[in-house]
Every structure is written in structure tokens, then in C-alpha cells.
Symmetry: C2
Subunit: 243 residues, 2 copies
């Protein structure tokens, strides 16, 4: 599919509104994605108001598109709705555990990425935010997420007002393993990426000996990863998933 192969993340949006009708139609497509036992254990929170965007902003490290996008979507694990249905049916739900959390994460992502494909096919631009996993607790408060509801990923959505060049990707054959896992020659696999002028500029600007050092020492450091791991685990437990 050309639309999949040519896609790029869009962070700048025009003022044109994204109608509730279009958004609901795209989410309806998203909810047709595969899911565990057809339990549909996810919810989507739609943020349009300035006030709510202001609340979310710091938890996305003040990335401006949270404010400038007409719509911000937060895809959430939701075992609350299903559990409430069980209770109201006189049954006893047992979904406050790690397996339920992890499988609902997978189902949330199946819906989120189906939404993304449908939205891009409709001409919309979007960007995923990994910050949701860094600051889950703040997002939980901002969106008033109750027990058994957990924010998995955030997507900003709008009509594109930029046309960036496509980012690089590794040779796909380096990611595909026949029958069993085999180590690849990583220096050869990463040679193209390391050769790109924008990557060399990135290394120079950060004053690092290699591109890998920019990742380990600046962008995704061990200390930060460990700090935010603790916060993430704490937030999962706070939402009632016991492990």
C-alpha cells in the first residue's frame, strides 16, 4: 500500500477543524481491529479544549503540537468497562492483573494503529507520543482515568501544514529472521544510517564520538530509563493492576 510506504509523522497542522463525525468514523474503523476475545478492553479520550490541552502539555514535555493540534487522542487500556459489565451481570471479574494489562495494551495498540492508518488514508496527519509512558501518572490525573484504565499512547491529529522528508529506516532484512533468531552484523546494518548528513550533524552538535552515543548519553539514557521505569510501574499499580 503506497499510503503506508510513503507515510511520515506530521507535527504541524492547519487551522481546519477535524469534525466529530469524521473522527468517530475513523475510530469506528479502528475498533474493527482484532482484539482478545472480542472484549474490546480499550477506551479513547478525545482532547479538544484548550484547558485540557494545557493540563496535558507538561506531561508531554511541552511539545508544542499538543497545543496546536486540533485533536489529541489518548488510547487507554480499559478493563473497567468490561469489569463493570461483569459485576452488573452478577459475575465476578478477575482482570486486575498483569496479563490482562499487557493483553489490553496490545489490543489498545491494534486499535490505535488502525486509527492511524485510516486517518492518514483520509488525508489527516498525525504523530505518536512516547511521552505517555514517561508521565502516565500526570496523564491519568489530567484525563481523570479511574482504576483499570491506563494511558498507553497519545496521537495528535490534524490536517497537515508541513511536508517533511521521510525519515530513514534500517534494511528490513536486518529485522526479519527465518525460523529462529539470528544476530546480524549491526555495524553493516547501521552503516547507512550513520552515513546520513543529518545523523552526522546530530553527532557533531551533541559533541559525541558516534551516533550510538547520542542515543545512550543524550536521548535515551540508562538513568532516565530507570527513573521513568519506576514511575511507569508505579502508575500501572496505582490503576489497580497487581503484580
Amino acid at each position: 500500500m503506497d499510503s503506508l510506504r510513503n507515510r511520515k509523522s506530521i507535527r504541524k497542522y492547519s487551522n481546519k477543524e477535524v469534525s466529530e463525525e469524521l473522527l468517530n468514523s475513523l475510530l469506528t474503523d479502528a475498533f474493527r481491529a482484532s482484539n482478545t476475545g472480542n472484549m474490546q478492553t480499550y477506551s479513547v479520550i478525545v482532547t479538544r479544549s484548550e484547558q485540557q490541552k494545557e493540563k496535558l502539555l507538561p506531561f508531554h514535555f511541552n511539545q508544542p503540537s499538543i497545543k496546536t493540534a486540533p485533536v489529541v487522542l489518548t488510547f487507554c487500556v480499559d478493563f473497567r468497562r468490561f469489569s463493570r459489565w461483569c459485576v452488573e451481570s452478577g459475575a465476578e471479574p478477575g482482570y486486575n492483573n498483569y496479563l490482562s494489562f499487557y493483553s489490553a495494551t496490545i489490543d489498545s495498540m491494534l486499535a490505535a494503529q488502525t486509527f492511524a492508518v485510516a486517518a492518514e488514508d483520509a488525508g489527516l496527519g498525525l504523530c505518536f507520543f512516547g511521552t505517555t509512558n514517561y508521565n502516565a501518572e500526570g496523564i491519568i490525573d489530567a484525563l481523570e482515568l479511574p482504576e483499570l484504565v491506563f494511558p498507553v499512547t497519545t496521537v495528535t491529529v490534524g490536517w497537515p501544514a508541513e511536508n517533511p522528508s521521510q525519515s530513514d529506516r534500517l534494511d528490513p532484512l536486518g529485522l526479519i529472521h527465518q525460523e529462529t533468531y539470528k544476530d546480524v552484523d549491526v555495524k553493516a546494518l547501521y552503516a547507512y544510517k550513520e552515513s546520513l548528513p543529518e545523523m552526522q550533524k546530530f553527532v557533531e552538535e551533541n559533541g559525541k564520538p558516534s551516533l550510538a552515543h547520542v542515543f545512550t548519553d543524550v536521548r535515551y539514557t540508562k538513568a532516565n530509563n530507570e527513573f521513568f521505569s519506576d514511575a511507569l510501574l508505579k502508575a500501572i499499580k496505582r490503576q489497580g493492576f497487581i503484580f
Copy 2:
């Protein structure tokens, strides 16, 4: 997109081969999906051999399509390749933590679902297997996954040899929340599902008082969820993600 809205999972496949060329082309599309910091921390294991399918089969609870599908794909978190590149570049990777594991799970799912959309658009049929999260340890052994590699989801792929009716979905408005999370009337939301003849048959066959009881007492029980939660957490730790 009609292809998204009309999709259904396919578990029966014709004998027609899925060529390596087509598969690699679809996976190339999949790897264009959004991902954290463009680190592409995932791998895909392709299972075609009878011997490997036999090994995987018990860990997918002997579901026959694992054997009858021409291709079985296991999408995996892979922080090993990236970490090896860091080490070979003289940098010190710090990705053996829960945040890295969870964000790579999300990135694996973005790729997996993009693959699914591309494959279905090409006329292939597929089915996701949640069993991967139940029996991760067995799958790790069968696919020889080393440290920092973890199986997230499995997809069987082939040319459709069945045309099942589409499964039901909840009213999408019950899953979409404006600005903040709000509880919905669950009995009203589930009334349509509960009214379906196949669901009523399901309740009767299981001798349960309600459809919810079939989920809590038969399909996804608290005891099983807790048992498999422990196994899942153990497997994540075994692969070197510390938490």
C-alpha cells in the same frame, strides 16, 4: 477505509504459497510505522517449516491454524540489536528496563498492525494469537530468542479459504470519551451483544446465567489470569528486562 471496516479474522487458508517476496514487501510497509526515536526495537520471526510449527503448536494451545497456515509470524520486542550496535560503537546501552520493554512492545504492535492492514489489503487473511502472552517462555525457547528479545504477538497468514461472518462490536460511542473519562451505562452498551443468537447459544452451551459469566467463569478466569500473569512476568525478567 472499506478494507478496515469490512475486515474479519481468517483461520482457514488455501494451499497457495505466500511468497517470500510478498511477505518481505508487506513487512517493509510495516516497518514504516511510527516508532520511538526511530530505534526500530523490534524483530519478526518467520515460521514456515513443519518442524518449527510443531514446536510452536503446544504454546498456542494446539490451535490448528498454527499448523495449517503457510506462514506464522511472531513480532518481538528487540532491544538486543540496538544494544549490540551501541556496544560495537563503544557506547553503553541502558535498555534492560521496564520502560524500554513497554515502549518496544508499543513499537512492535505499531509494526504488527501495519503489517496486518497491508496484508489484508493485498488479499491475505490473518489471525492474531493472544496465546503468545500466555506461553511466552515456550515460544522464546522454540524461536531461540536471546536476551532483550521478547515475543509480543503472533499472526498466522495465508490466502483465505473461508468467508466467516463479521463478529459484533460495541457501539463505538461507548468507547469514546470527550475530554475526561466517564462511565457509561454498561447494561445498555452490552444489550445488543447479549441479544445475539450466537451469544445466547454460547451462554446456554456453557450452562451459565449470563454472557459475562462465560467470560469470568470459563474463557478468562481470575485463576488463569493470575497463573499466566506470573508466567508472563517471569518470562519478561528471564529475557533481561529488570523491574
